[in-house]
């Protein structure tokens, strides 16, 4: 299952495949981010940079701390220590909604479609600069009517782009699992972020819809969007990512272009156990 990516020039030429390596044009730089749950060091990332305009995959065995790192960076969970900046702006300690407003928008492993809002309302919710979201302005229709119309146009374009046009006025709760993933992606794009963070975008999605989802992700990258995504499906990772970061036991243990990562000993050790790795067991 490979996405038809077409010929893909490596977007990070000459960057050495080392954990924590500096990127030529990083949009997100994290340093010393740690989080412990009781005695468990869930995240201990000493340095991680994410290249602007590239698709970076975050892989690692279950419990490696990928989702926790997502939660920390996006303000959904509080880090014990660490600094990170997005487009040069420090974000550590900011609440989740301010992180989103800064242009870093995430989706969730278990899709969070707002079931009793229509598909259109879901999308409109993502938009920004709507004065009508303030209490008193909400009561005065003329204050937000024009903006609402332009938001609706944008939402309709987005619906068409993601093939959800027919479901426009249905409750989001009636969508299939795969459609919900698309809806969540479209809704996140309505925020007009500079970077989008997808937590297992293809989990539970049928193969046909996965292909469509991956095409959308590639297209977004080609439009200049930065994408960081957590993924377990190695075909997907190899198919669309420009750079792969592997985590294990809370640390970044390897980084590199997708071609290099499959043969990386640290990665093989992490997935199969050091025992297999040392024997050179090539199942990875």
């Amino acid at each position: 299952m490979t996405a038809d990516a077409g010929p893909r020039a490596t977007r990070l030429p000459g960057v050495p495949p080392e954990p924590g390596v500096a990127k030529p044009d990083p949009i997100l730089v994290a340093e010393g981010v740690t989080k412990t749950f009781g005695g468990l060091h869930a995240v201990q990332v000493s340095r991680l940079e994410v290249q602007r305009g590239a698709i970076t995959a975050l892989i690692g065995p279950n419990g490696a701390g990928k989702t926790t790192l997502f939660n920390l960076l996006t303000g959904f969970d509080r880090a014990d220590a660490g600094r990170w900046s997005f487009e040069g702006r420090p974000l550590a300690g900011l609440p989740a909604y301010r992180t989103a407003r800064a242009g870093m928008v995430r989706t969730f492993q278990l899709t969070k479609s707002l079931t009793l809002l229509t598909v259109l309302e879901n999308l409109k919710l993502g938009s920004r600069q709507q004065a009508g979201e303030r209490f008193f302005a909400a009561l005065v229709h003329p204050l937000w009517r024009a903006r609402e119309a332009s938001i609706e146009r944008l939402a309709d374009e987005m619906l068409a782009r993601f093939g959800l046009g027919l479901m426009r006025d249905e409750f989001a709760g009636t969508l299939s699992g795969g459609q919900r993933k698309l809806l969540e992606l479209a809704r996140a794009l309505m925020v007009q972020p500079a970077m989008i963070m997808l937590d297992e975008p293809t989990a539970g999605v049928n193969p046909a819809l996965t292909q469509s989802l991956l095409r959308h992700i590639l297209q977004l990258r080609d439009e200049g969007m930065t994408i960081l995504f957590v993924e377990h499906d190695m075909d997907v990772v190899m198919g669309i990512s420009d750079w792969v970061v592997c985590m294990a036991e809370g640390r970044v243990i390897a980084e590199g272009p997708p071609a290099s990562i499959g043969s990386n000993h640290a990665v093989i050790d992490a997935y199969l156990g050091a025992h297999h790795g040392r024997r050179g067991g090539g199942e990875g």
Binding site: F76, A96, Y97, A100, V105, L114, L116, L117, G132, L139
Partner: protein, 330 residues
């Protein structure tokens, strides 16, 4: 058995001032529970501070009535902030626990000995709403026919309170269809999704709590003005649960749900009451089985049974949409 008298009593209750007052407080609860997903189990506390705001200002501090109304509203805002700021960042359960406790704390504080110089203690305060009745444009007399008639005072309060209910419904309609309402409903559906889209969930919850609390306080004020009395034990936790009952009966998350719910609730309660009393009076139910003094309790047992049937056969309420209910359950 005089069926006409029973229906007359029930209809009078269904359109009377209490129904309007309960509808108003329930509209506030609908903002909290129906639209924002906040579990406020202390709506009666907001009614209490509203009612006492007026009563204390006028009686104890000799302030004009309009100042009392403003004080009542200000107190409701303060109570909402006091309850909301520590709890609205936490899971929904914390607000529920805090509000039910706050309602009781308020009741016990207002009825306590040390507060009695201000609040009148267990006896409460009376006769503070004369200015309202002084401007009653309706000439003295009884209006209506037979069982279904109101005094000019009741009618005046009905005009005021149903007007306020209409106004509150318009306010809710404007808010809920606006982008503000969209954000609030998204908070109800999934707060993390709302956060991930840059919405300040805490701020919206607080706004919702304040708005619904103020509506509850206005309801409490009307109740105080209507009876020309405040008495702390009238503001017991059961009131909040009657409000939930009629809200769910009418349909939570519907603009007119609380209004329809309140009308039906009062109709059914008074109908049951009247029916039982007549049945006992005419010997249809032996007095040894239910004595007239027990009717008050038995009617609510009947209402409870009715509600259970409603939950089984129409869980979405009168105005609700079954499909929404099914989607929401997942």
């Amino acid at each position: 058995m005089d069926i006409l008298a029973i229906l007359g009593d029930a209809t009078r209750a269904a359109i009377g001032p209490e129904a309007a007052i309960y509808a108003l407080a329930a509209i506030g609860l609908n903002m909290h529970f129906g639209y924002t997903g906040l579990l406020n189990f202390g709506q009666v506390g907001f009614m209490l501070v509203g009612a006492y705001g007026v009563a204390v200002a006028v009686t104890t501090f000799s302030a004009p009535l309009w100042a009392g109304v403003l004080i009542g509203i200000a107190l409701a805002v303060a109570l909402a902030l006091l309850l909301g700021i520590p709890t609205l960042r936490l899971r929904a359960d914390y607000l529920a626990i805090t509000t039910i406790a706050a309602g009781e704390i308020l009741r016990y504080t207002y009825r306590s000995n040390f507060a009695s110089p201000v609040t009148g203690g267990v006896y409460g305060l009376t006769r503070f709403a004369d200015p309202i009745y002084a401007i009653n444009p309706i000439p003295a007399g009884r209006y209506g026919f037979g069982q279904l008639s109101f005094s000019e005072r009741s009618l005046w309060i009905m005009v005021i309170s149903w007007s306020l209910v209409a106004l509150a419904c318009v306010l809710m309609f404007l808010l809920i269809r606006s982008p503000w309402g969209r954000v609030v409903r998204s908070v109800r559906e999934d707060e993390d999704a709302a956060r991930s889209l840059g919405k300040n969930v805490f701020g919206y919850r607080l706004q919702s709590l304040v708005l619904g609390g103020v509506l509850g306080a206005v309801g409490g004020m009307l109740l105080a003005v209507y009876s020309q009395a405040v008495q702390p034990d009238a503001y017991n936790p059961a009131v909040t649960f009657y409000l939930y009952t009629l809200l769910i009966l009418g349909g939570a998350g519907r603009i007119l749900g609380p209004v329809v719910g309140s009308v039906i609730f009062w109709f059914v309660v008074v109908c049951a009451d009247s029916l039982l009393r007549q049945a006992i009076g005419s010997g249809l139910i032996p007095a040894s089985l239910i004595s007239p003094t027990e009717v008050g309790a038995v009617r609510f047992a009947l209402v409870g049974a009715g509600l259970m049937l409603l939950m089984i056969y129409r869980p979405q309420g009168i105005l609700g949409d079954r499909r929404e209910m099914m989607l929401g359950d997942r």
